[in-house]
Every structure is written in structure tokens, then in C-alpha cells.
Symmetry: C2
Subunit: 403 residues, 2 copies
């Protein structure tokens, strides 16, 4: 498997674009994105479990009920959620996109991200659709920008791999930032592939993958109303279609996982206001679920996150988060270490502190990527979760988000 | 019932003191507290559910297994948790206190609060015990200061009420601030009363009370390792001892609830870095548990907390937190309003936004106490939860807590 350029446009037959349509006041920021497949594609998606769901999710769910889609349209700056006319606007977004692409309205995945509870006007979307469609091309980066809200960095990746002697590609873009605490589905992630795979197997691959990737991230403990991960597979790599489990399916899942783990790390590291990516690796668990519960609890702890921001090796907060995670563990067996490119330092053995050099710990924790390594010493199961530090800027960004 | 002065020393037969013993470097801050009852008292307590438990909790649990205690000793600056010698030190704290008070070591409630995972030296405690005991008197405020960590304000209250024609009193002090997300028990709260009540009924009163008080607060979602609420009842009011449910017990519970709700609001309003007390009142629920779940979810939402810091009426985040709370509710029936001494403003009806004056909303949200009023319009059950805003100072305090 190779990492390649091109993002969502790397797979054959996919083009993309992003423009400024005017939902956001800042004219230099693209605020609508479009991804288009020459051929109708197998489509799979997972959605937020929040009972308050964005109107676009309801419309998308209906549109891909037949397992097929051909385009993805997504605006940023307004979530089209908790508005009385939400469904109507989401359907209009599909209709206007379909008209310009000359495809069917129910072959469109529609998504919105931004402020909740402000009516989304269809006008700027209608007015910019001709330009958006005319500019479709090798512009994964424009689409990646078009879906950003408070994200600082664009998030895109593509990989190539071989199935049945045919070269296949998977590409993905994502937006993350705030209100991220996935539970079954998360954020906006749009993935394309030219691999031929049935809708059923595509859904299976995605649903299994997210339990170890997007459901293991948290920025702020808030599960969004609008999260979704969508994959379109147009089959243009001309491999024999994957219709059941087996070697080809495993290869596909491996490539998909490379894309999703990369995007997870991007989303966590670019959490609102974040200065650091936190990775918590839990090993030695009796069950995988125990390892997951512990890893998630650690990266969700506000106190641990604030300590990491301050490069303070306050490991007691890690122990505390393990203790209240709800997982049944033996506290007296727990080891904790901090690791980064500057080295690894043991801070706790068997549930009690060990002597360590504060100077060395500071050096390790001043890095941009920190791994919190937990060994429960009670089995062989493991899990990884990703998060970020809690900073002044998170508060700043969210103290006045709507203006 | 009247609010009276005197804190934990208001009930007959109770004295208290607090001194600087040297655990904290700041010599102007008292860091050890003592509460003493002339007569041995009925004792009840609730403890954190965190699997990582401070050593003092284990020792206290053993000491009051017989339902009796006569003194409470608590240091701040060090939690005596996750240390190999934790139990030994907690027992030494009891022994040295007992020796100076000339009471039994197992009649002592011992507690510690502060940094986790640093060994607590017995020396400063031993060296200051004579001074601490000699100064016992009407000094509830010294004790309240002695248990503070990053708390800005002392938290104390007392009430008087009548049982069987006898005037009784309940007093309480508390420390809160960070690592507060109670689950069955919380923080350090020490309550005294001269009401005569059996250990069993005292425990019943406390255990029932906390489900509507301390378990409905959250500062940061982190359930501490050292939380406990303790009540000592020495019977010196000479009422007929309460040994069963009935009118007297109800009177006692009502008075206890006045004390605990007051302390809850103090703890929430003085959360680490907080500038505002948030109160979320949920009504119209089908079940009390639903109302509690929703209220807790709203006051735990980092995004809602940050919006309140910025006085931003971003009610979509309230809806979002209701949606992911886990409670089964009908989103399309939910009403939300913001209220403060400056007035009340409706922001959401039937799950969708309503037009409101941003100017008026800002005026309301700039106040120090904000009530987030949620009506689920699906029944008659209700609940209240308390929290605080998320601010730059929370991050500052917790980015470098240990130094």
C-alpha cells in the first residue's frame, strides 16, 4: 500500500471542487464543497447517534437507502439543524445540485456543518452552483477547505493498493474541530474509492472500521448533531467486485483503515484550540471493550487535557480517569508512561508513583504528539484513542462562536 | 428554618480550627482543618465511586463502620492517593489527632485533598497538631479555609430548625473547584448537627439527599478519587432521637437539603476558573431520571459552558447536549429559555429556534448566575443540576497545577 496525492480525486472517475458561496462572511474561505463520480457508486454511511439530528442526515439516509449515490454536496457555516424548514432546504440543496450535474436528486449525499439553529438560506447555494459544478476537477483541496469550520488545517489523504491484480485507490477528506465525541458515527468525513465493492460489503467495512477509528476520538465530549462518514465506491478500478468476506475484502478494509486512522489523527490534532495530538494506547486488558473504555476515558479527561497543554506530567489525573472510566480493572496493576519523539518516561507502576525526572518529562511533553501509554497488566487486549489538549483557544473559540 | 452564622460550629458541642502546617508552600494559606465534637456522634458518609480511591477514604470507611465518630481531620495540598504508603500515612494522621484530642483513633474521619501521587509526609501534620487542637473554638471559617485547594471562596453555612420542640442546628463546610463530576458521592463536604438521630437514619438522610444535590453538580466531568461527604450528629440539641421515618425525619431532611443545596451552588459557582454559576432546570419529563439525565448533560457540555462564558445565547448547543444525553425524549417538543436576574428569554420552542433579541439575551447572560430552563413537555417530573462556565482560567489553573 502506498500513500499517494490527490485526496478524494485520487480514485478514478472522481472530481471535486469548493467555492465561496456566501454563507460565511469571510470571502476568502470556500464554504461549499462538491464531490462527483462519473459513474453511479455504491454508497455507505454512518451517522451521529445524537437524538437531535441535522436535517441533511435525514435526507441523505433516504437518498442512499438504495445503496447508491453519485455526488456529495456539503456547506459549512450553517448546520441546517433545529430549523423548522431544515428538510425542505436540504432537499432543495439536492435538487439544485442534481439539476446542474444532470443526475437524479436522490443520488446525492447532502451535508451541512456550522452553527445550529439558524435558518440556512438556499440562495447563496443556488447562486453558486453553476460555478461549483463548472469547476469540478482535481480539486480535493478546494473541497477539503469548503467543509472546514474552525479547523485550522485541511485534512486529506489517499492510498493506492492492489486487489485481484488491479490497482485501486481510496481517498478521503474530513472536517473536525469541535463538538466531537463520536458515538457510532462522527464529524464529516467523505471517502471515495474506485474499488468495485457492493453496497452491503462497503457498509460492513465502514461500520466495522469506525469502532476502532472515529468512535475512538474525542475533542470535547460533545457528540455533534450533524456527524456523518460517507464512502462512495464507483468500481472504476475494474477489479472483480467484492461481494463477500475474504482476502480482497480484508485488503480493502486495511486500506480503508489507513485512510481513517490518518484522518482521525488529523481531526484530533486539529481539535478546536489544540496545540497537541494526544494518543492513548491501552494494552494488557482482559477484553477489548475494557481497553477502549479506558483509552476513551483518558483522552476525554479535561484535567488530563489541560495538564498536557501545560506539559505537566500530572499522571495522577490519568489514573483518576482510568478509575472513573466504568471499566472493571485492578488499579494496583496499572502502569503509566508518557512518550513522544523525545523519549519515553515511566511515571506510575502498579498504581503508585515512581521517581522520575521532571526535567525529562517536561522535554517529552513539550512535543506536538504525546502518547499516554497505559498497561493494565491483566490480559492481552488493546485499544487506541485520540484526542487533544485543552487550551485557552478552545475557550476563546467557543465563547463567541456565532459572531 | 433560619439561616444562621457559625458554619460547622453552629451546632452545640462542635468546635473547629484550621492552621498552616506546611504541606503548602504558601504560608498565608491554612492547609489543615479539624472539626471536633464534645460528645461522640452518629456518623454517616458517602464516597466517590472512582475505582482509584484515596487512602484516607479506606481508613475513614473502617473507622466509621460502627456508625460513630468524634472528629474530622483534613489536609489540603496533597490527596494522599496512589501512594504506596497511603494507608499508613492516613492511619498516622488519625493516631496523632486522636492522641492530642485524647479520643480513640478509630473515632476519626480522615480526609486529604490536593495533588494525586505525591507522598504525603506526616511531619508537618505531627508538628502542627498541638497548635491545631489548642486553637479549637468557634472557627468554622479557619476549617473552611484549611480544606480549600484552588477554591477562591470559603464555603460554609448553618441553619436552625425545630424538632419535637427542640431547636436543632446543621452546619456545613465544603471544598470544590476541580475534578468534580459526582457519582454517588463528591468533593469534601463536612456537615455537623446537634440533632439526635441514629446512624442508620443519618445515613439514609444523606444517601437520599445527595442524589438531588451533590450528584447533580459537575465542574469538569472528572470524578475525583477523594470525594466524600460526611455528617456528624452529636445529639446535643436534646430532641428525642430520630430512629425512624416520620415528621421529625422529614424536618431533618429538609434542613439538611437547605445546607447541601447551598453548598452545591457554592461549589458550582466557584468551579475552577468559573465566572458564572449555571443552573439547569428541567421540567416536563416523563420520569425523574430523564429530567436528571438531561439536566446533567446540559451543565456538562463544554460547548455550552464556553458559550455561557462568552454570554453567547448559542442555544443549539443546549439542544445538542439534550440530544446526546442518552435520555429518551421527543426533540420536537423541547422548549429552551435563558434566565437571570435581568429577565427571561425564550430561544427555542418545539425543538426549533424562535426569533429573539440578541441584545436582551446578551444582557441576561452577562449576569453571574444563569438558569438554563428546559421544558420537555412530556410529563410532570423535574430536576435541577448545577455547573459553571468554562474559562481561560480553568485551562490556566490546570495546565500547571502541580507547581
Amino acid at each position: 500500500m502506498d500513500i499517494i496525492k490527490g485526496g478524494v480525486c485520487a480514485p478514478k472517475g472522481f472530481t471535486a471542487n469548493g467555492v465561496h458561496c456566501g454563507i460565511r462572511k469571510n470571502r476568502t474561505k470556500r464554504d461549499i464543497a462538491l464531490i462527483y463520480s462519473e459513474k453511479k457508486a455504491s454508497a455507505a454511511a454512518v451517522y451521529t447517534t445524537n437524538l437531535v439530528k441535522g436535517a441533511p442526515l435525514t435526507v441523505t439516509k433516504n437518498n442512499i437507502a438504495d445503496g447508491k449515490a453519485q455526488a456529495i454536496v456539503c456547506n459549512s457555516g450553517n448546520a441546517n439543524t433545529c430549523n423548522a424548514n431544515g428538510i425542505e432546504i436540504a432537499e432543495k440543496m439536492c435538487a439544485v445540485t442534481a439539476k446542474h450535474l444532470n443526475i437524479k436528486s436522490d443520488d446525492i449525499v447532502v451535508a451541512s456543518t456550522g452553527v445550529i439553529g439558524q435558518e440556512l438560506s438556499i440562495e447563496p447555494i443556488e447562486n453558486s452552483m453553476a460555478e461549483l459544478c463548472a469547476g469540478l476537477g482535481d480539486h480535493s483541496d478546494f473541497a477539503a477547505e469548503g467543509i472546514m469550520t474552525t479547523d485550522v488545517a485541511k485534512k486529506e489523504i489517499a492510498v493506492s493498493f492492489t486487489i485481484g491484480g488491479k490497482e485501486c485507490r481510496i481517498g478521503g477528506i474530513a472536517k473536525g474541530s469541535g463538538m466531537i465525541h463520536p458515538n457510532m458515527a462522527t464529524m464529516h468525513v467523505f471517502i471515495t474509492t474506485d474499488c468495485a465493492i457492493s453496497s452491503e460489503m462497503l457498509q460492513k467495512a465502514l461500520s466495522e472500521d469506525i469502532t476502532k477509528t472515529f468512535n475512538m476520538i474525542s475533542i470535547d465530549g460533545d457528540t455533534s448533531t450533524n456527524d456523518m462518514v460517507t464512502v462512495l465506491a464507483n468500481g472504476m478500478a475494474e477489479n472483480e467486485e467484492i461481494t463477500s468476506a475474504g482476502e480482497d475484502f480484508n485488503e480493502f478494509c486495511k486500506a480503508l483503515n489507513t485512510v481513517t486512522v490518518y484522518l482521525c489523527r488529523c481531526i484530533a490534532g486539529d481539535g478546536e484550540g489544540a496545540t497537541k495530538l494526544l494518543e492513548c494506547t491501552v494494552s494488557g486488558a482482559d477484553k477489548e471493550e475494557t481497553a477502549k473504555t479506558v483509552a476513551r476515558s483518558v483522552i476525554c479527561s479535561s484535567l488530563t487535557k489541560a495538564a498536557m497543554f501545560g506539559a505537566d506530567a500530572n499522571w495522577g489525573r490519568v489514573l483518576c480517569a482510568i478509575g472513573y472510566s466504568g471499566a472493571e480493572i485492578d488499579v494496583n496493576k496499572v502502569d503509566v508512561a508518557f512518550s513522544s519523539p523525545k523519549g519515553t518516561i515511566d511515571v506510575c507502576k502498579n498504581g503508585s508513583g515512581v521517581d522520575f525526572s521532571e526535567e525529562k518529562a517536561k522535554e517529552i511533553l513539550l512535543e506536538k504528539e504525546i502518547n499516554i501509554i497505559v498497561n493494565l497488566n491483566s490480559g492481552s487486549e488493546k485499544a487506541v484513542a485520540w484526542g487533544c489538549d485543552l487550551t485557552y483557544d478552545y475557550v476563546k473559540i467557543n465563547g463567541d462562536y456565532r459572531t
